[in-house]
Symmetry: C2
DNA sequence: AACCCGGGCGACCATCGGACGCTGGTGCC
DNA sequence: GGCACCAGCGTCCGATGGTCGCCCGGGTT
C-alpha cells in the first residue's frame, strides 16, 4: 500500500516533467513565447498532500523477447513516418504523411462497420473510435493499425481536417528544414490552439463540428495547451 | 488461470438465468405473451465453446461489518421506495416515486455543476451522469444518491419522461393492486419497448431526443428486451 | 560492420460502466 | 418481540481510454 502511493507519486511527477519538456520544444514556432507556465499543471492536480520527493523504481515493461513456444504471429514493426509534402511519396523504408492521414480515414470506415454490427445485434453503438474498433480493424486484416499509433497523431490529423492550407504549409516548411517527425508532430499543436482561440477556446466543439474529426477523442495534451494559453493571455 | 475460466463461465450462466426469470415476470402486462424466448440470449454471446456445467464458488462480498477502528462515517440506509400515485406522499418509513424521479433531476443538476467545473479547468467534460458525478453529489452533500440505486430505476424514469400519462397510469394500477416496487419496476419495461417499436426500434434515439433522458445511459436490459422483441415479431 | 538516433507499439494503469446479492430496515402478526 | 420479506447500495469485475518508454529498424559513417 505504501508502495502503491509511491508509484502514483512517481507517475504524476513524470507526467509533469514531460509536459514541461515538450513546451520548451514548442516555443520556437509560436513567436509569442509560452508554456513554461506548464509548471501550473501542479494546480490541475488538487492532490497536493506533500511528499513527492522519491523517484520510484523503474517499471519493467515489454515481453521477455518472444520467449517460449509462441503461438501468435509476430508482426514486423511498420516503417516510421517521415515528413512529406502533400502528394509526395516517401523515399526508402519510410511512410509519408498522406498515408498517415489515410489511416485515420480507414479507422472511420472500421468504426462504421462496428456500428452496423452493433445495431444489428441490438448492442450499444460506439460513436467514437474505441478499443473495439481497433480490435475489429486488427481482426479484419488491418494489422498495421493500432491504438497508440493513432493516438500519437490525432492532433496532426485534426489540423489536416480543420485547416488543410495551414497543415500543408507546415508539412512543406518542416520538410524543407529537414525536421524529423517528432518536431512536426509537436508543431501541429500551435495552429490548433490558435483555431481554438478563434472558437472561444472550445476545442471539443471544433472537433464535434467536423464530420471526420467527430469520431476522435480530443487529445489530452491539446486540451491542456488550450487551457494554459487561455489562462495566460486573454482568458 | 483455470480458476478464472470457471468464474467467467459461472457469471455468464448467471446472467442468462436472471434475464429469463425477469422475462417470466414480465409476461402478464403485455398481452401478446413474450420473452421466454430470452433463452435466445445464448445467441447474443457468440462464445459458445461448450462446457458451462460447473456452478462455481460463492463470491464473498460486503465488508466484514464495520470492523476495527472505522474512520468513515456510517450512513444509515435510505428508506425503501413504495409505489405511489403522482402527488401522493409516502406513508411510514418509505419514499414515494415522485421523490425517486426528483433524484434523477438532482443528478442532472450535479452533472451541470461537474460540467462547469470541468470547462473551467480545461478538462474533458462529461455529457452523461458518470462516476465523477456520483462522487461530486456525495461530496456536495447528497449522500443519499448513489450509482446502483440510480441505475436500478433509469428505465422507470425514462417512461416518466417519455410518456407521463402511461407512467402515471401504471403507478396507479400497481398501487391499487398492492404490487411491490420490484413488480412495478419490471412492468415499466414494456411500455418502453412499445415506444421503441414506434421509433423504428431505436431506443438510443428515444433517449437522446429527450432533454432529461439524454444524460442517462440506456440500461442494458432495456436494450436487450427491445432487440428480442424486434427479432420475434416484425423485425 | 558498428553505431546511434528516433519512433512504433506492447503493455501497463487508473478508472469506468455495469452488475448482483448480502445485509438489515420495515411492516405484520 | 419476533419473523419474513425485499430492496438499498457496498463491492466486485471486465474492459475502457490513456500513456510511456523499451526495443529495434534504419540511415549514416
Amino acid at each position: 500500500m505504501e508502495q502503491q502511493r509511491m508509484d502514483l507519486a512517481a507517475r504524476s511527477n513524470e507526467k509533469k516533467r514531460r509536459l514541461e519538456e515538450s513546451s520548451d520544444g514548442l516555443l520556437l514556432k509560436d513567436g509569442n513565447g509560452s508554456l513554461e507556465a506548464l509548471g501550473l499543471l501542479g494546480l490541475t492536480d488538487p492532490d497536493s498532500d506533500s511528499e513527492g520527493k522519491k523517484v520510484a523504481k523503474r517499471r519493467q515493461r515489454k515481453r521477455r523477447s518472444k520467449e517460449v513456444g509462441e503461438d501468435g504471429e509476430e508482426r514486423p514493426r511498420e516503417h516510421p513516418f517521415i515528413v512529406t509534402e502533400p502528394g509526395e511519396p516517401a523515399k526508402g523504408k519510410k511512410n509519408g504523411l498522406d498515408y498517415l492521414f489515410d489511416l485515420y480515414e480507414q479507422c472511420g470506415k472500421f468504426l462504421e462497420e462496428v456500428q452496423h454490427i452493433a445495431k444489428e445485434k441490438g448492442e450499444k453503438c460506439p460513436s467514437k473510435v474505441t478499443n473495439e474498433v481497433f480490435r475489429h480493424a486488427k481482426l479484419t486484416g488491418a494489422g498495421y493499425i493500432n491504438k497508440p499509433k493513432m493516438r500519437d497523431y490525432v492532433h496532426c490529423y485534426a489540423l489536416h481536417c480543420l485547416d488543410v492550407e495551414t497543415s500543408n504549409n507546415l508539412r512543406k516548411e518542416y520538410k524543407e528544414r529537414g525536421e524529423n517527425v517528432g518536431a512536426w508532430c509537436q508543431a501541429c499543436y500551435f495552429p490548433l490552439v490558435k483555431l481554438a482561440r478563434q472558437n472561444e477556446w472550445d476545442i471539443d466543439d471544433l472537433f464535434n463540428r467536423n464530420d471526420k474529426l467527430r469520431i476522435w477523442y480530443v487529445p489530452t495534451k491539446l486540451r491542456q495547451l488550450c487551457h494554459i494559453e487561455r489562462m495566460k493571455h486573454g482568458e
